[in-house]
Symmetry: C2
Amino acid sequence: MRNLEKIEYQPISVREIVLEMKNLSELMIDLAYSAALFNDKELAEDVIELEKRIDRLALLLEIHIMVAARNPDDAEDLLAVSRIGSAADKISDAAADIAAIVVHNISVHPIVTEIFENVEERLIRAKVTKDSLIIEKRIRELDLAAKMGVDILAIGRNKDWIINPEDYEVIKEGDILIVRGSSLGTKRFKEITEKGQNSGVK
Amino acid sequence: MRNLEKIEYQPISVREIVLEMKNLSELMIDLAYSAALFNDKELAEDVIELEKRIDRLALLLEIHIMVAARNPDDAEDLLAVSRIGSAADKISDAAADIAAIVVHNISVHPIVTEIFENVEERLIRAKVTKDSLIIEKRIRELDLAAKMGVDILAIGRNKDWIINPEDYEVIKEGDILIVRGSSLGTKRFKEITEKGQNSGVK
């Protein structure tokens, strides 16, 4: 995954930027709702961090579109791309709005937190400790879907985010894993990911 | 599913409204991106129709919140609910923006339509014809996930939408099915759903 901390012209295609904005905006919506429903501040903070990333991508997209448009026909074609980028940005703003409710502790409890008690799937975040059972393993090896019905949606690593990580990705110490699954599955996943915290030194 | 065509006070809980707004807004984002990426006008029109439904739900939510708030403490608690409703509305607006690009035929082709050529999953819509192989069957019986790796996300019926239909739901003639799956799976699903169109009278 490319590091987009600096906003400067980089050899990344318009296609890649839009694809990443799409994936990020979808992830943020899921994360934001989960954060609100389970009153999960950490998840909410991740959403707000991802929002900054979308903002950078939006700016980068505009720069790329300007560079790519060489004549009025190009410009017209690229207008649709620009509008999709804007929509992704707007989606992420809404996700950040939801996250802000959670972070600023606007009393969410009485109704909101029980709204989704029957929702089967939820998103959680888990941090990989140095004693974690899954450290240095490839996602493929973990076979998470079959073993506990969970799916890794994103990995936060070194202030960067890998969205929809590939099967060959290796889990590292300190990774923040965003995982979707059943209540039971995500609980078990959190246990094996953060094992060191409960089981003491190996 | 409740018919929300008329905006009037109905005995539906705030909880149900927010849950439906969440599910609808998530569905709309998926639909809108799929519509843009595959230049699918029908899918885009569904998004715009769903946007009207979200607008009605948003209004209904505000009415319910006003009725529910009996004192300042209630009102404060309900503020967070109201803000989540607003965010869902904003998300749906963004989805409608994307859909409008497709409907109004703003030349989407050169870059956008090839953006997601490697995307494994896509959403399609299929209309159940009178000769369809799946007519009058329960979703459970179809065993779609196992048989063709697809999943029914929504059913449009009599100008109403059933989001995340239950397994016991029966497929009717004229239903609009919104389905997620692989390129191959969705193609096969469309064939069995619209079979009558190609195979003539039964």
